[in-house]
Amino acid sequence: MEVDALGAAEVTRRTQWRPHWPTLALLMVALAGLAGPFETGGQAYLVAGGAAPLTSGLALLLLLGAAVLPTVWGSPWVVPAATPLALVAAFGAIYAQRSLAGSAGWGYWLVLLGGLAAAATAAGRISVIELESDAPRWQHRMQRSVPAATVAFLVLLAWEGLVVGSRVPKGIFPRVSHIWAAFLGSWRVLLADAYLTFVKEVLFGFAVGLTGGFLVGSAIAFSRFLQRGFLPLATAFGAVPIVGLAPVLGRALGVDWESKAAVVVIVTFFPVVLNTVQGLTLVDPLKLELLRSYAARPLKVFFSLRVPNALPYLFNALKVAVVVGVVSVIVAEFLIPGPPTGLGQRISLSAHRGAFDIVFAAIMVSSLISMALYAVIIFLERMFTAWHPMSRGS
């Protein structure tokens, strides 16, 4: 902004003072909602009789009004400040709605949806910023994380707001608050289940599938004949659905955790074998010739060239395997009814009982742990394949 200080400053000032119209309009819609009834057939919320609606209505008015201010400025760094205010306003509307009887009125819907949409557009404003390469790291982090985090809150508030507003009974579909309460009440049980499912079944099956797959893959990589034979069939073997395989394994290995670990072994085995074979064979021919010129024995070539070359492929397979493996182990626990431990069993039993809040709490635990496992694999990948061009650069 040094060149043409006057002109540039004028341009910046003009763009700074242009309001962010989408967010502003949505906030106005939300404010209009305050003038409407939260209950069908009731009065406008702000003037509804009683102290509680009055104070909460005023609080909502203050929040939404405060949210309007940053959007008037228009700057990409200031508008997102409206996001938390709009989200809290939506939360407040839901909180107020919970204590009301009858079905929800249009005022409630306007406040809820207007507030959420305004938060979305406001948070989206941060993505248009073109950060310079020497911008401080917190700015990069903000740009990456704010939109995604906002989406999470949006989804949760929208879920809660819709379920509360539509007055869905607890047994039919749970609210986020119910799910949270269920989680708080049963986290010990869920964690014990998660230990059985993830540590014993997934990790053990993973380890066995990984070693077995690597050994078989290495064996196949040594023979061109086997390669040409196995690779077309690997898709066929991998296409056998878990739905049928799980009960067969349950019959063979009993209903305890061993059969579910076997499912994970099979699900891990085929991607690992495929990727190991590819990684061990798709080596740069120049490197092979170099080692040949060093008179390297095949075993030396294997350990110093082929195996490191295969590592990125292997981690690729592991990433696929960990996600598919977790899903498969839950499917296996559904289909091999055994002792009532393990996350899949918990979900199945709770679903049959109709306790869908525990179902969602268990799903949440399962997702979090599988995302954590995925992150561990990514970390290991960075550690072991940092030298690979794939990990360098952006």
Binding site: A123, G124, I126, S127, V128, Q143, R144, P147, A148, T150, V151, A152, V155, I172, F173, F225, L226, Q227, R228, G229, F230, P232, L233, T235, A236, F237, G238, A239, V240, P241, I242, V243, G244, L245, P247, V248, R251, A252, L253, V323, V326, V327, I330, V331, F334, L335, G344, I347, A351, H352, F356, V359, F360, A362, I363, S366, S367, S370, M371, Y374
Partner: protein, 642 residues
């Protein structure tokens, strides 16, 4: 140089050579299935073999004279050798005793291979004839013992001892089955319940397999005569001979016989003895144990008082006996003290414990056949057991392998068994019947294609949105990835609930399968299409810019064609994923028209071979769907081959 073979054969030969590795690997996999089946099945077979409840029971009886003597009243001199029918070869003289009429004889003898050589003379009589059996009730097999005859009496046909024996069929009759197999070589008539069936009329035999002309009623007992005769009905005294005979057999009222002694020191102090065969059948109504000539009773009596946890003194009717608490013997002196018929325990037994007093003897361990007597038999007396029942050998077979082969269901069947099931499985229902497998496969294929269509359209739209609006991608992509970590099978009940509330009949609709399949399929399509839309050569973009192309034109003419190959690769991945999702949804939603229901049904029915056939069908279905997508790619984008 002329061509040595026709040109059309060369590509054929090349194709065959190219296919050879696949065939070899398939053959290896096929062969590997046998050891894997054994590895999985043999432990289960061993469990089945070791379970005593599955064993064949044998009831011992005193072994009577093999030949009825011409003069029953005469005795036998020292040095005479007498043959006893049915005596086992390993029965030694220390463990056997000669008996007559329920009394042991004090005779010394040597026993070898069922033949006793007397060392001291035995005064007569050695034999007494009983009544002749009435009959035959049919062509010569069925006879009836007269009223009052001991059903365990030895039977003689023309002075030759008949040995009883009957083996039970391996399979339990279910009311429908007509084919039964018998473990041991049995060759006589078949007895179903109390009815005797004759060969050629009631059944057809083929070595060890027997096909009845009418199915055996549910839960009846199917036996086959394996000895010389078998008792059909002990109450009415009906017996069936293995070989038809016009002459009626004759029962022996008494015969010189060899009976088993109990193993243990008879010295007036020892009270623990063992039966020679174990494990014993726990509740054995036929068990008889004799001390010299008196039968010992196995009866137990309860105390008069209630066991309330505080009381230690109890009164019984009898004044002697073995006292047990909850089946464990209590030592007299250290555990309790007795005065007459009152006993006082050292510590009061726990509340509601089972206290029993066995007047004569008690089976303290049926696995080893240990008997504990109340009073130690005096030295010189004979403690012998005329009859008792024990578990002899596993019914399924002599070795683990035999038991494995005779298992009704295997965790993993041999491939040839699966192949044998192919014909009946596909032909079970006509093509017009909705339960036909081919129709179910087509139904599931329809569901998968719908799921792929939905997932594909949604994925492509989402990808276009992501490429057009950068902030959306940053915000939503992590959550799209997170959505794939949610175990989809857990969401199926929720989805079915919602659909049910909306009014969709989930049992007959494709909607659950389509939605779940689309959920799993859309992710690879999105990721692949985004990569494809972004993979445009920047030079092309610059060129379009120089032509002042609008964004829409840019999209259709440059970005979309570049994305097509990526799209098809991800559609192939999505097809496999959609099939998995559709099957999962069908399994949980009980949609009778689909393949998932067939799989679950066969699993629950226990037909493992059919489950394997269905698995192969699903694998072929998956490959077929992927090939359909490949074919589609050939038509739409023939310039790319991936």
């Amino acid at each position: 140089m002329a061509a040595s073979r026709p040109r059309v054969l060369v590509p054929l030969k090349r194709r065959l050579v190219a296919a050879l590795p696949v065939v070899v690997v398939l053959a290896i996999a096929f062969v590997l299935m046998y050891p894997i089946a054994l590895w999985l099945g043999l432990p289960l077979a061993k469990l089945r073999m070791d379970n005593v409840a599955n064993w064949v029971t044998v009831t011992t009886a005193p072994h009577a004279l093999a030949e009825a003597p011409a003069d029953p009243t005469a005795g036998a001199a020292a040095g005479a050798s007498l043959a006893f029918g049915g005596a086992p070869a390993n029965l030694s003289s220390e463990r056997a005793v000669l008996t007559y009429g329920g009394q042991p004889l004090a005779a010394r003898f040597g026993l070898e291979d069922g033949v006793a050589v007397l060392r001291s003379a035995i005064p007569g009589p050695l034999f007494a004839w009983g009544a002749e059996l009435t009959g035959p009730l049919d062509a010569g097999h069925v006879y009836v013992l007269p009223e009052g005859t001991d059903p365990g009496a030895a039977l003689y046909l023309a002075d030759r001892l008949l040995l009883p024996g009957a083996t039970e069929a391996v399979e339990r009759p279910d009311g429908v089955q007509t084919v039964f197999s018998f473990p041991d070589d049995a060759g006589g008539p078949v007895i179903v319940g109390h009815t005797v069936l004759l060969e050629g009329d009631g059944f057809v035999a083929d070595d060890r397999l027997v096909t009845l002309s009418a199915p055996a009623p549910f839960n009846s007992v199917v036996r086959r005569v394996s000895g010389d005769y078998a008792v059909v009905d002990a109450a009415s005294g009906t017996v069936a001979l293995a070989v038809a005979s016009s002459a009626a057999p004759r029962a022996a009222a008494a015969s010189l016989a060899i009976a088993e002694l109990l193993v243990g020191e008879v010295d007036g102090v020892n009270r623990k003895f063992q039966l020679q065969h174990a494990p014993l059948v726990e509740s054995d109504a036929q068990r008889r144990i004799m001390l010299d000539g008196t039968e010992l009773s196995a009866a137990a009596e309860r105390p008069l008082e209630r066991v309330d946890g505080g009381r230690a003194t109890f009164t019984f009717a009898g004044e002697r006996g073995v006292v047990t608490i909850n089946g464990a013997e209590v030592e007299e002196g250290s555990g309790f003290s007795r005065s007459g018929n009152t006993i006082t325990f050292a510590t009061p037994p726990v509340r509601n414990a089972a206290i029993r007093q066995y007047a004569d003897y008690l089976v303290s361990d049926s696995t080893t056949g240990t008997i504990t007597l109340a009073v130690a038999p005096p030295a010189g007396s004979s403690l012998w057991a005329p009859t008792y029942t024990y578990y002899d050998h596993p019914a399924c077979g002599a070795t683990e392998l035999e038991c494995f082969l005779s298992m009704p269901q295997h965790p993993m069947p041999f491939p040839n068994w699966i192949a044998k099931r192919l014909g009946p499985f596909f032909g079970a229902y006509a093509l017009s019947d909705s339960r036909n497998v081919v129709r179910a496969t087509l139904y599931t294929a329809g569901g998968t294609l719908t799921a792929l269509l939905l997932g594909g359209i949604f994925g492509v739209l989402l990808a276009i949105l992501f490429v057009a609006v950068r902030p959306l991608e940053q915000a939503l992509l992590p959550w799209v990835i997170a959505s794939q970590t949610v175990p989809i099978i857990a969401l199926v009940p929720v989805l079915l609930l919602l659909l049910g509330n909306v009014g969709v009949t989930v049992q007959t609709s494709l909607v659950p399968a389509a939605l779940i399949g689309a959920y799993i399929a859309f992710f690879p399509v999105t990721v692949g299409t985004v990569t494809g839309l972004r993979s445009v050569d920047p030079l092309s973009l610059d060129l379009m810019k120089s032509y002042a192309a609008s964004p829409v034109q840019l999209f259709w003419k440059v970005r979309f064609p570049a994305a097509v190959p990526y799209l098809f690769v991800s559609l192939k991945l999505g097809a496999a994923a959609a099939l998995v999702g559709a099957l999962v949804a069908e399994t949980e939603s009980n949609n009778r028209l689909g393949l998932g229901y067939a799989i679950v049904g066969q699993v629950q029915a226990g037909n493992v071979s059919d489950v394997w056939i269905l698995l192969f069908i699903s694998a072929i279905l998956g490959i077929g769907l992927v090939s359909i997508v490949g074919l589609l790619q050939r038509f739409i984008a023939p310039w790319e081959r991936r």
